[in-house]
């Protein structure tokens, strides 16, 4: 039975966790995402689904609690905002190294340092390139609506368990704080002990004297671990890229933007189209794996140039340039530190950086 609700993006994450059958949530308050743990504490899912919810003493503790719960084959989650995510780095590396699934949400704010509590996308590079030490990647999803905040919890668990790798929902204060309609589908029950034993017994601690570790003292064996992990990333790139294209079929200029920026850029496309400029929008839904092929296809199809709009100093633009590989100009337009652009600003930037320059 479908249920329609009105709620904040952060609340949708909390509801999504409960309805996706999450077993344990561990978090520490930080703006702009504290509603997630507040909502969970109010929902008291331990009385309904049996999901544990705990306010940890720090994000370092949160991510390590997630590690422990994940080692049991359970669906574990933590959520935070930029400074707290930095504290999760070490733990994420251990979780990826031990090849465990979990879901982490980053409701980004502006930085560096304590920065600002206003929204930003300044943790893109951290999320997709260097979430911690060692060669590893997170699966990174970028919701652009309250609906996707909810849906991506399900998707994140699906991918995290399929690839035994931590998944991050990379969102920001805009999507976390805004209220929208949310269509809620039937809830998934939590996994039973039998289900975990049958499906994840090869790696989870089910009483069979298993060992969950990221330690391998023998370098030649560690290399094998790394090769196995890299093979998963290759499979992710081949099979799991998700992207949304709007007005790209006949587009001469394509804006590339994710999350909150993509919502603003969708309006920029309308403005440009009204002026007779054939603009389109490519919105990566998965930031890792990145839609390289979709960008290459657009470049090959005759798109004259790309504008990457992002709320940072130009982080994703580098990945778009790598994908397009010099075939077409790729320009950047952004704001930083919690400032947000208007649809008109992006439209103007596109005209100035792509159309006037190429005239």
């Amino acid at each position: 039975m479908k249920d329609v609700k009105l709620m904040k993006g952060n609340e949708a994450i909390a509801l999504g966790a409960v309805n996706a059958g999450c077993d344990g949530y561990f978090g520490y308050p930080i703006t702009p995402q504290s509603e997630i743990i507040e909502t969970l504490m109010e929902m008291k899912p331990w009385e309904t689904t049996g999901m544990a919810v705990l306010q940890a003493e720090s994000e370092i503790a949160s991510i390590n609690m997630v590690y422990g719960a994940a080692a049991m084959g359970k669906k574990a989650m933590t959520t935070s905002s930029s400074p707290g995510i930095s504290l999760c780095s070490e733990g994420l590396s251990y979780i990826a190294g031990a090849e465990l699934p979990c879901v982490v949400v980053n409701v980004q704010r502006g930085g560096p340092g304590l920065g600002t509590i206003q929204p930003a996308q300044a943790d893109y590079a951290q999320a997709v390139k260097a979430p911690g030490h060692g060669d590893f990647n997170l699966i990174v999803l970028a919701p652009n609506s309250v609906q996707e905040m909810y849906d991506h919890v399900f998707l994140a668990y699906e991918l995290a368990f399929k690839y035994r790798n931590p998944a991050m929902i990379l969102t920001d204060g805009v999507i976390g704080q805004m209220m929208e309609k949310l269509v809620v589908d039937e809830a998934k029950p939590r996994m039973t002990e039998e289900f975990i034993r049958e499906n994840y017994g090869s790696w989870a601690l089910v009483g069979n004297k298993g060992v969950v570790t990221s330690l391998e003292l023998e370098a030649s064996r560690q290399e094998k671990v790394n090769e196995r992990i890299q093979a998963k990333y290759k499979a992710l790139k081949e099979n799991e890229v998700r992207v949304e294209m709007t007005d790209c079929d006949d587009a001469e200029f394509v804006i590339v933007a994710f999350g909150s920026s993509a919502r603003i850029a969708a309006k920029s496309v309308e403005i440009l189209r009204a002026e007779g400029i054939k603009a389109g929008l490519l919105r990566p839904i998965t930031l890792f794996p990145f839609p390289d092929k979709q960008l290459q296809d657009l470049a090959a199809k005759g798109v004259k140039g790309f504008l990457v709009a992002e709320l940072n100093a130009g982080q994703m633009v580098k990945d778009v340039r790598l994908a397009v590989n010099g075939a077409r100009p790729v320009e950047y337009y952004g704001r930083m530190g919690g400032m947000i652009y208007s649809p008109g600003e992006i439209a103007e930037a596109l005209k100035e950086k792509l159309i006037e320059k190429t005239k």
Binding site: M65, A69, A98, L205, V212, L215
Partner: protein, 252 residues
């Protein structure tokens, strides 16, 4: 020499069933191996071998999972109590314990330790206090004694420079979430027998949901202390016990 038949009658000692056949990497005279044995025996005697989850630390006992045949998760340096919390909160039916050194527990992981105790997590903390960072080659730890020479206190630990030895158990006992805090050692057969009882009590407390039990082992590190195995035992009695006296500190 004629081979002696092993029978029930002439058997004076057997390796606990839950101790694996792997050759232990611990140095002669180190307390880790003896405490491992006791933990394995208690788990076996409680019939919990398929229901226990151990959390190993970063330190000499990082490879504890190679020796005790149960489920293990290897934590980041200092984070064992947080990892154990995550395990226990989603699997309350399991017997969960951490096994940590003084660097792991009292230095980098003191925050996680205190908060797990303060929350009354239903876990057991086994704390091997050898007053040194054994694994990394003998650096000073928070529990290093005043005057004690280590590679990072080559002239002896000076209180003015490095502070005072950290009496963790005395601090942990005041936290309302703890039910049992004790200090043990494994330097004599009598001490070993007592220590085993302490581990059993801690594990039982945890399964009864009484709160966090904290079992400290004042321990030797012959390699780190640059002593022989027997010298280390004597030195521990003479120097460690006055600062870290043995006995139950809290039992409710």
């Amino acid at each position: 020499m004629a081979e002696v038949q092993k029978t029930q009658e002439n058997l004076v000692y057997a390796k606990p069933r839950l101790i694996k056949d792997n050759v232990m990497h611990y140095c002669p005279g180190c307390s880790h191996g003896t405490v491992h044995k006791l933990v394995a025996e208690v788990i076996e005697e409680m019939g919990m071998e398929n229901k226990t989850v151990g959390v190993s630390p970063v330190g000499c006992s990082v490879l504890a999972y190679n020796y005790i045949d149960i489920d293990w998760v290897e934590a980041a340096h200092g984070r064992a109590c947080a990892v154990a919390t995550g395990v226990k909160r989603v699997a309350p039916e399991r017997l969960v314990f951490t096994y940590q050194g003084d660097g792991d527990l009292a230095s980098i992981g003191i925050g996680e330790t205190v908060h797990a105790a303060q929350r009354g997590e239903k876990i057991v903390v086994i704390y091997i206090n050898n007053a040194i960072y054994g694994m990394t080659g003998g650096q000073m730890s928070p529990t290093t004694l005043p005057g004690m020479k280590t590679s990072t206190s080559p002239y002896g630990r000076e209180e003015a420079l490095h502070g005072f030895p950290f009496k963790v158990a005395d601090m942990i006992k005041v936290l309302d979430g703890t039910c049992y805090v004790t200090r043990q050692a494994v330097h004599t057969p009598a001490a070993v027998r007592k220590a085993k009882k302490a581990i059993r009590k801690a594990f039982e407390n945890s399964m009864e949901g009484k709160g966090l039990s904290f079992v400290e082992f004042v321990s030797t590190c012959p390699s780190g202390w640059k002593q022989t195995a027997t010298e280390a035992n004597t030195w521990m009695e003479e120097h460690m016990f006055p600062v870290y006296p043995l006995g139950d500190i809290k039992d409710i």
